[in-house]
Symmetry: C2
Subunit: 352 residues, 2 copies
């Protein structure tokens, strides 16, 4: 399957930000998202084979660093990701990430890659994959509330998987909406910017919320959400951060990635710990209902799960090989005799 | 403190295996271990400030991949390490590792480095640090049972911190002992190889066991251990793998790194879950006894703990800066406007 094999056992292929951009552009952003959604669907389709560890977080005053590992018994992947809302003050990203894919059979890393860009792509791919099963048939208009770093990727994902061409934008900062429009209009979307969330959601088949405030905010109030809509809630992704009014949740059919994690990080923080929700993989497996009718409000309470990163790592591994868009890192000690690590060091003294 | 600052926010300094070897050789292996032991002592001295997460393992048929994160509230570090005993069949290391140091204040990685070699050095540094507090005064002879990849580093660490010059070697494979002797004899050690563990331990002040079998073995039986000895048990480092007969444990004062982890992975797997042991940091803090007398058998049940890796990452960060022995990896996306990740990608299309 993989075209990516390092020439030496000690070398680990590394995809830099620059190489990832080249890889995405060479593939085409929409095609990249569509193929990535296929990998995510395949992995969600074998959900029960995965080792599902909750993410491991270290909390500081300003934010969190998390490790998100998972394995299907043959491959192993993890992502390092931080969340530091105040980072933009000094020109840093609020979220950066990198990841590693490894062979669980011998423990050797097979790929290390930037994942800031890749996470944006997989988040959008997951949203669109889920919506392609839950949104009303014939959806053509999406309201996009929150026009930051994630917004354009959501738009491209929804066009790629659902054919959404019309976007209704709103952000508390009008400059963000203008930026989003400037990026997307040349790509053929029909775009309108609104001065309130209420106006933006009018007539939308799908409402995507992707705001970045680290607090409990109410991006959507109950009166804004009419029957039959699909809500794609992307922005609430850590404890104490939600986007939707609780009453919306009570009127919706709620779908999660991995419920134990979503209870802590997602919109359903606002509900009782036993409030019924459906894990999306069950819809794929046919063991749970998706949309129950035209007036059903479906809500994808997205927080991002390790399996999506695993799928992304698999996709990049399969995609990057023939392109040569990677470097090889001398990351693993490789003595001639594995028991003679010290001898390797001593002999290097003569050579170096 | 650190001389290591990347020129651009998006760049992460990377120390390859080659650069790590150069760094160790340039510093001098014994001095490297001695200085590293100082960093470990400092971090053990502020033990209660650390976030002590148990390691997070993924288990396959052939071995395990673990992530070992920790933080002191300001810096964050983690190590990726595998353990695959059968790897030597196809020329791979049984254990390889790499690690990352990050700023918990903004979540950005500050250093990524090979840690196979560094782990060997920190394991030895920790052993010698602990022995410098627990071994009998005036120790001059060490038995070294198990002469694989860790053995030479142990020897150098014990000479560097305790002045041990005489080594008594034993390994089930005589070729391993010959390899160890060939590596160490030119460095000025007095070395004898024995045909049994019983002979090797005779008259030794310190007994170090560092064997690699992944099973419960009995490298030391009860009759081999006389009063007053310090035992440095390095090799038992995962569930189901021990080196010492249980009766030795019952006669010893037992010291651990982080007891909840050692109960699972160390020699004390063989004892009841409430059997009294002392965490070594308490000896440093003066809140627990170390050696209680000339006839006391002290046992360091070493399994390796995340704080030692954290100390190693700090040391390498401080040491490597002025040497230039690192590359810079383009690992973090760095858009001009953090909210405009997509724009970064679009603009790259024109440039790439």
């Amino acid at each position: 399957m993989s075209g990516l094999v390092a020439r030496n056992l000690n070398m680990v292929p590394f995809v830099s930000v620059e190489d990832m951009m080249k890889l995405v552009l060479k593939t085409g952003t929409e095609r990249f998202i569509q193929e990535l959604a296929g990998y995510i669907r395949d992995d969600f389709g074998r959900w029960e084979r995965f080792d599902k560890t909750p993410r491991v977080g270290s909390y500081g005053h300003e934010g969190v660093i998390e490790l998100m590992p998972t394995s299907d018994g043959e491959l192993y992947g993890f992502k390092y990701v931080n969340g530091h809302p105040k980072n933009t003050r000094d020109g840093r990203q609020t979220v950066t990430a990198f990841g590693v894919l490894a062979d669980l059979g011998n423990g050797y890393p097979m790929l290390i890659t930037e994942m800031t860009l890749l996470t944006a792509l997989r988040t959008a791919a997951t949203s669109a994959l889920v919506a392609s099963h839950l949104a009303p048939k014939g959806s053509h208009t999406m309201a996009l509330i929150g026009n930051g770093a994630q917004s354009e990727f959501q738009a491209l994902a929804f066009r790629s998987l659902l054919g959404i061409e019309r976007l209704r934008l709103y952000d508390t900062d009008p400059a963000a909406s203008e930026k989003c429009k400037a990026n997307l209009a040349p790509l053929g979307f029909e775009i309108e910017i609104f001065r309130s969330g209420e106006e933006a959601v009018e007539g939308a088949d799908i409402i995507t919320t992707a705001t970045a405030d680290k607090r409990n905010a109410t991006i959507l109030t109950d009166n804004m959400v009419g029957p039959g809509v699909h809500i794609n809630a992307v922005g609430g992704d850590c404890p104490g951060k939600t986007e939707l009014h609780r009453d919306i949740l009570l009127r919706s059919s709620i779908f999660t990635e991995f419920t134990p994690q979503t209870r802590i990080e997602g919109e359903i923080q606002q509900l009782d710990a036993d409030y019924p929700v459906t894990e999306f993989w069950q819809v794929l497996a046919g063991t749970a209902d998706g949309r129950r009718g035209e007036r059903d409000i479906t809500l994808f309470d997205s927080v991002g799960f390790a399996i999506e990163d695993f799928s992304s790592l698999r996709y990049v591994r399969d995609l990057v090989g023939p392109t040569g868009l990677y470097e090889e890192l001398d990351m693993l000690a490789d003595p001639d005799d594995p028991r003679d690590l010290f001898g390797m060091l001593q002999r290097a003294a003569a050579r170096l």
